[in-house]
Symmetry: C2
Subunit: 546 residues, 2 copies
């Protein structure tokens, strides 16, 4: 039986309409290349987003067209989020820090018709321009006075373009499953792959992410997203914070600058901020050095990489700021899990609470999690069993742009039962706290047991004379695979393989202790600083246990 | 362009699955006719809901069938909410306090195949049984020991029925626009009308209602819904509180019993409760009399009727409990607006904050509000202009069961532009706080001005010798309508019409002052205690201003 409820579609434009009516004077503060402190209100955001919609249609852009952005976190990028998606076009956020050939690939693969580019990114665009296959115009995100000199044809000035437009525009309502945005994810192999978000997925993600036991987003908050808007929609903050009516503070290109961040936090009274651990490390180091404060900051949320315990402790004990660790993926919009306490846990000793904060968090309502073994059997939530982590829910990808959407087929990340393979290996404890223990491709499978390469590496790295260590699985005639440890010693140190193996014996399960140790001068890393295990497996392809 | 996101449907069963995995030991405490304090966990709720699903299918109930409930707030009714809807059947919650002929009409109109009935409601069912056209079996919500003697055929015992069932049941996934529940709304005229909720509308309503600036629902909460589960899904609490993992406390038939409510609040550490103003009055009176406390109760939410200022003040000053006034309708699932402060308002003096709490609140994200004049022109949010209140959103009805769904047509509450006519007249202030000033059918339209009948009545009631007053519009040759005041004097009082009109002159706009006053011994009221203006307009049908 069909219900008799309005078929109102979940539209990103509804956020803007609600914001303008209910919080017309709420502020948005930005750092941009042309203004160290730009300040305006939701009313102006809404008005200029409508002008942008008119400008896009004036340029000939149509429903479904991809509009690329190469930009930092500021109000103009925010106008693109709303103005582009609101019309039914697709806001394609591109990471300008990728390798130039990746940026080039992405622009052509998405067939972007227009590119909106920060002044600081113009040199990159100039270098790549002749290889762009679909781009008709470049719009520079600045005003006339700050327009860069450029030899490129078809370049427009954003502020001049907007100034010519009427701010009358009625946001259309259309199918909520329409694409609103795209982000490409780049792994260690192959070309970047495009994830395509919908209006529906974005709104559901905003609702779930704002809940009290998730980010607890309120109109009383002042929110500083330090995670870039080209990284999975800045974790959804540009949507959720405006949905709830919060003040938004945008650091522009000053993402990793402790001084600017501290200044923004103190002067704008930021209560909630989000960034990767590296950013927090930079801020904490700046605070230590300068002796400055961040009294207003109640919550620092983090993700993208495991958060070192030291960051949680420094925030807590030195600044009374709670670290909210979460986990997600580009393919997940990104929110999957977030730290939150359960009844009774408030009374745990600090150390125990930090133990929980150091895990990746509990699933937000809307995302189903499971861990499975090699045969896809679900494993218990006992905090011990670890298996491949799979997820399901309305803001999770079914596949990549231009690739197979058939579950279980080559190139599709979703299995035949409809669960996304995250590529992570994890444990889940009886309270639902999930902890990533490895990547599925790095886990070492030996005689029926799964061994976490990261666990071995952490144990090895605890040795005072070991600078860095990597563990990979290599073929073993009896156990299929056994761990091989590759070690970089500290300057001047001398250790034998036997000594290291001995050292690890009381730190690891018997079956996790490496069978051999080899020494090297340096380990290979990816562009984002992670160990490149693929390269290592290649280097030690021919290695054989004796 | 279509997005590439999972088409996961929003299903009520997903709440139960999430709850069981993430909060297996969270408690549900109930008062029932057969147990003053029943206590179990989410695990048992989930297990028994699956047993119920098997039982329903065993009885021959099918996808889309209406399953009626005549029951109070307890765990068995909760199992019906989840067990019935989870299968794709429709949980039809019936108010046992309606006139028997209305209950009869509703059961037949919905074509309920099975009725699940509280022991206390069995006498009503026995009286009506022979008129039921579609009911095949009556299931009494109790165990074998407490089964009432009955002459009815086809009566089953709920606990016996469940005990025979397996708890293996996989909740199916189907179109989220499928009906999950029904509530009939009864006005002053005509037959009750059925509102049909969907899985989608229910989940979106739960997300929006749980947000920090709405009810702020967390797994740390202990939630006591005193609003009955047959009144618009107990305002959605049975869904939202389990979605977030809160402890649930259900008062069973003891809804208006101050002693039971205080005992539940204190002993179960209730932090959040919801009820109509009459309930709060009963609780506050009991507390005053007994000297008992409700220290754990942080929030008392209220709706269904304007909350008297005295209730807000008594809760605040005597018990440090915040009153959260909201507004909604059966047609709105019900949530439309809720009290919440905006930045800066925390520092307002208490009196100003209470002024805001005494309004009906601000729109939650997902519900769009507007006020319009006679020509459907939108009126400003200035706190002065008042007009017909219209709403739109994904948990708002398109029409009533078995009646026209064509916008703008007879019997359909939605206008041609897709907005629901609420039947209320309201102002909205620049901060978005909405205040109901009248019902559209009661407002008096005089010479182009709208006059609130309630405003006149409140002004008249402030006279120490007036016991009660009602204002209605009557035909006037020049002004179309003019206000006529109908007054009940206090015992022994004597006042003239001229004196009363004089008294009102400095309290009302010139055009709002009644042209005449007539006296009567008593005013007619509806079953729920409101003035029956329809009856009054009928009584004074022939009245003519001289």
């Amino acid at each position: 039986m069909k219900a008799l409820m309005m078929n109102t579609q979940l539209m990103i434009s509804s956020i803007l309409r609600h914001a303008e009516k209910n919080y017309p004077n709420q502020q948005i503060v930005s750092v941009t290349a042309d203004n160290p402190r730009h300040r305006y209100t939701y009313t102006e955001l809404a008005k200029r987003s409508r002008q942008l919609a008119n400008a896009l249609e004036g340029l000939g852009a149509k429903f479904g067209d991809r509009i690329g952005t190469l930009a930092w976190n500021d109000y103009r990028h925010l106008e693109l989020y709303y103005g582009v998606s609101g019309t039914g076009m697709v806001c394609h956020m591109i990471n300008p820090k990728l390798f130039p050939e990746q940026v080039n690939y992405i622009v052509n693969h998405a067939q972007d018709r227009f590119l909106f580019v920060d002044v600081l990114v113009m040199p990159l665009v100039e270098a790549l321009h002749q290889n762009f296959e679909s781009v008709e115009k470049i719009i520079v995100l600045t005003d006339k006075a700050h327009m860069p000199k450029t030899s490129l044809p078809n370049v427009l000035c954003y502020e001049e373009l907007l100034a010519q437009q009427s701010d009358n525009y009625i946001w259309p309502e259309f199918d909520e499953n329409t694409a609103c945005g795209m982000c490409y994810t780049s792994g260690t192999t192959g070309n970047p792959k495009g994830v395509v978000y919908s209006h529906r997925s974005t709104l559901l993600h905003a609702y779930a992410g704002a809940l009290p036991d998730a980010t607890n987003a309120s109109n009383m908050d002042v929110c500083l997203p330090i995670v870039p808007m080209f990284h999975v929609n800045a974790w959804g903050i540009p949507y959720a914070s405006i949905m709830v009516g919060a003040k938004l503070v945008m650091p522009g290109p000053k993402m990793a600058d402790g001084e600017t961040l501290q200044d923004l936090i103190e002067n704008e009274k930021v209560s909630y901020s989000s960034g990767v651990p590296t950013i927090w490390m930079a801020l904490l180091d700046y605070l230590d050095k300068s002796g400055k404060k961040i009294d207003s900051l109640k919550v620092a949320s983090t993700g993208g990489a495991a958060c070192p315990r030291g960051i949680i402790e420094r925030f807590k004990y030195d600044y009374d700021t709670k670290v909210l660790q979460g986990w997600g993926m580009t393919e997940m919009s990104p929110l999957g899990t977030l730290f939150s306490l359960k009844p009774g846990m408030q009374d745990l000793p600090d150390e125990k609470i930090i133990d929980l904060q150091a895990k990746q968090g509990r699933s937000v309502f809307g995302v189903e999690l499971k861990i499975v073994d090699d045969d896809n059997n679900e494993l218990p939530w006992d905090g011990v069993a670890f298996g491949a982590l799979k997820v399901k829910g309305p803001w999770i990808a079914t596949g990549y742009y231009g690739m197979s959407q058939v579950p279980g087929s080559e190139g599709c990340p979703v299995d035949e039962d409809g669960w996304l393979n995250t590529g992570d290996v994890a444990t889940i404890d009886p309270d639902g706290f999930m902890q990533i223990t490895d990547r599925t491709k790095d886990v070492i499978k030996t005689g029926g047991e799964w061994v976490s390469s990261i666990e071995i590496e952490n144990a090895a790295a605890s040795h005072p004379l070991i600078a860095e260590a990597a563990a990979i699985g290599r073929y073993h005639p009896k156990w299929t695979e056994r761990p091989l440890l590759i070690v970089v010693l500290s300057d001047g140190a001398e250790l034998t393989a036997e000594h290291i193996i001995d050292y690890l014996k009381d730190k690891l399960h018997k079956w996790s202790v490496p069978d051999d140790v080899v020494f090297t001068d340096a380990l290979p890393h990816t562009a984002t600083g992670k160990l490149n295990k693929l390269a290592l497996r290649n280097t030690y392809k021919e290695y054989q246990f004796s």
